[in-house]
């Protein structure tokens, strides 16, 4: 297995992490994901880690990196399905995943992303590039 598949679902990208993220795989995921955000103009990235039972500082850092990279590409990251033991480990490792939103499951994560995008759209209404509006 040389790469983790990234699924496109409307405006969002979904990644399910099922295997141990050793160095090369994690870096490939980072690179693939930012490419995919650019290519699909995705507004949100959902990372499902429900199958992850063991986490180390490397993986914590990778998740933080992905969130930061997506953020500067104008896309929000939500991590879903974290096991309680993983949450305990992350905090004990001193990795509070700042800037990463979390939700209990994919459905809640998807709703969170939708609400974030709606809020953003309300605040920042885009102007019509042609200066004309369809009636």
């Amino acid at each position: 297995m040389d790469r983790i598949p990234i699924l496109r679902m409307g405006n969002f990208l979904l990644v399910t992490i099922q295997v141990d993220l050793y160095d090369r795989l994690a870096l490939t995921l980072e690179a693939d994901l930012v490419q995919m955000v650019k290519k699909t103009s995705a507004k949100g990235v959902l990372i499902d880690i429900s199958a992850v039972t063991i986490v180390d500082s490397f993986m914590g850092r990778i998740i933080g990196n992905i969130a930061s990279m997506s953020k500067i590409l104008d896309s929000e990251t939500v991590v879903v399905g974290m096991q309680p033991a993983v949450a305990i480990t992350l905090i004990e490792l001193g990795l509070p995943l700042k800037g990463v939103h979390t939700a209990l499951d994919v459905e809640r994560g998807m709703n969170l992303l939708k609400s974030m995008i709606d809020d953003f759209d309300d605040e920042d209404i885009e102007e019509d590039p042609d200066g004309s509006l369809a009636e």
Copy 2:
């Protein structure tokens, strides 16, 4: 990794197969999936196999089994993201995946499932259990 995560998305379940489906893992997936279809009353199951590059007769049979089991629980199965090489191998193995719908990617698969469910709803309009209709 002792089980493959099953993600619930509205009326559908999504499974991404990223690892080799050896015997025990495949049987666990079968069992988990039918349990989950029952528990969530899911109307459709999406199986993403875009990360699968090698397929054997066992895996072909497992996919067929999952589709048949879901079918008798009133849920449709769509396999998405099949690699061309996998399609070649399945046919050469004599496994045309009868009863399994396929689509190129998750989005198309989701649309296919939605259209199948809509068709079904049109054919078979449920009666109101109370015998009264809200106005």
